[in-house]
Symmetry: C2
Subunit: 333 residues, 2 copies
């Protein structure tokens, strides 16, 4: 099948670029040093390539992601790096022989983990991002409570998400060091092997964590691209020009097929004016007029929520469609 | 089933508010005066209520929406208010006895309509929003071309989308009048019965169009709420507080379950700090501390792309879940 035969909008993944990104990361962080985050692609076919590259543990953000990974035979060591209050679905996976570890940061989430049949937890520590995670000084006593409740505590996690897009690599390294100092202190109180942290923005500078939870590196977006990392943009949204006016043209890719939360998408050689539900209005930089029917690859600014809007990823090699991958981890039910 | 038993995040529709919105609009624009736009809810169960209120024609934004409406038995008069270049899927619906009309604004889209087996079109006219639509002066000759190609031309459409959120109703009316002057001029050149335009923002002031394509009025969002219209917010995203810190709390509703393109969501009595993929960080206005496990209803700023992130709408009456409605029109394949 050819790319031009696809119904637009359609999510494309360029195989060679994906391969470059996966191999570059696996060389930098081999095996257990990387715990790929599946929330960035929500696709077990893609996770299987990461597994084949030697990464046996994965990070998930939702119960649904954990279930889909287990169902795909990738349940050797799944970390739900998020707090949940009803863990019964996770408990059923544990009973079926999958290894599932869940993040906890309060007495309530510890109780919920035990009640639902989860046996292993990590203590989620706040290292500067105002989101989940206990205060570093509280981590030890939460670990004690978890052990008293019968849970096994594998260690700590702490996501320095507020530092991912710090432009200067030196500043990113320094601030990551300060964040990880707090995580290491918590780790000393908690015990266990795991010190899980990081993401695509800090994978190269976070030398303190035992494992890095990077996800975006596989597909990449224009926000991360600006950091000058060795990964390239593998993901685009294919659209067709459906209307041409003297000063602008319209492609059938809009905010229902890519997310604007990190800003407008990019089109090579063009200026993007705005996006509406099903359309992006743009003009060309050199003043040439696109033709109705032209195929355009629109580059999203944020990969994760863009993928979540689609049910299919098309793996392509230039103009050839190689494979059709279901986005089988989206949703919550 | 109770709301508290739902897996979060979950999309809730409050039945009484939905009923109020539907009935208020049907009283203002009865029968054929309203052609409800299904892109705002992507749910045939909800469209069926609009149909039962006397609206037999519907507006769609995608081929998938047209197909799902036809499959649901709501294919009496479906207008695809968007340009498409491969109309074969629409042609098959026409062959099966559904009435499908498609918007055209160029020789290419006219040719595509005829090639795919669509028999009826409207001429899409640009009335000020830099998006699709031909120049008003070109509408007549496009209609001639369409008729020469064997198509029946039902009239014109022109969406004054740039005026939907003009705050002052008087200004909105005046500017809508100027936009519709152009559409009426095009209509005189084109012929046909239909003058299709408008939306929730201009339904009360657009007295020139023969039918209004409003969609958001059914569920509503915080952006439209600011206009002081008689519709209320029926849609919310249910979340649970999963983490509480001294200065903020975190609910498990993020930018994968609501769209940020019109800005941050709202939480009653709270200040929203920011959203990340699966989380919203907020603080309460009165300084009370939420408890882990508290249920929160988060109000999205833009209903259309929020619905597109979910596979299910739960119709509720307060704490009772009444019905589970599939969001069966999303996607493009």
């Amino acid at each position: 099948m050819l790319v031009e035969e696809l119904q637009t909008p359609a999510l494309l993944v360029e195989r060679a670029v994906l391969r470059h990104n996966l191999d570059t990361m696996s060389a930098a962080l081999p095996g257990l040093r990387l715990r790929p985050h599946v929330k960035a692609h929500k696709c077990t076919s893609l996770a299987r390539l990461q597994h084949a590259n030697g990464h046996r543990g994965f990070t998930c953000a939702t119960i649904r992601e954990v279930e889909a990974m287990a169902a795909a035979g990738l349940g050797e060591d799944l970390l739900l790096a998020n707090e949940v209050l009803d863990t019964r679905r996770l408990g059923r996976l544990v009973q079926d022989g999958h290894r599932v570890t869940v993040a906890v940061d309060s007495a309530e989430t510890i109780e919920a983990a035990a009640a639902g049949g989860v046996r292993e937890v990590v203590i989620d520590v706040n290292v500067g991002l105002p989101r989940c995670g206990c205060a570093p000084a509280a981590a030890g006593s939460l670990a004690d409570l978890a052990r008293k409740t019968g849970l096994s505590v594998r260690g700590v996690m702490g996501y320095e998400g507020h530092l991912m897009l710090v432009q200067s690599q030196d500043e990113r390294r320094e601030q990551t060091g300060q964040a990880m100092e707090q995580l290491l202190a918590a780790s000393a109180d908690v015990g266990g092997d795991l010190i899980s942290a990081g993401g695509t923005g800090t994978y190269a500078v976070n030398t303190w964590a035992t494992e890095i939870q990077a996800g975006s590196y596989a597909l990449m977006d224009t926000a991360y691209q600006k950091l000058g990392q060795p990964f390239q943009q593998a993901l685009s949204v294919l659209g067709r020009v459906i209307s041409v006016s003297p000063e602008w043209a319209v492609v059938d890719v809009g905010l229902k097929s890519l997310s604007l939360d990190h800003g407008l998408p990019s089109i090579e050689g063009a200026k993007v004016w705005f996006c509406s539900d099903e359309h992006t209005t743009f003009s060309t930089e050199d003043g040439t007029r696109p033709a109705v029917g032209d195929l355009i690859r629109v580059l999203p600014a944020h990969v994760d929520p863009t993928v979540a809007l689609h049910d299919t990823l098309y793996l392509v090699d230039g103009e050839q469609v190689l494979e059709r991958w279901p986005v089988d981890m989206r949703g919550w039910q």
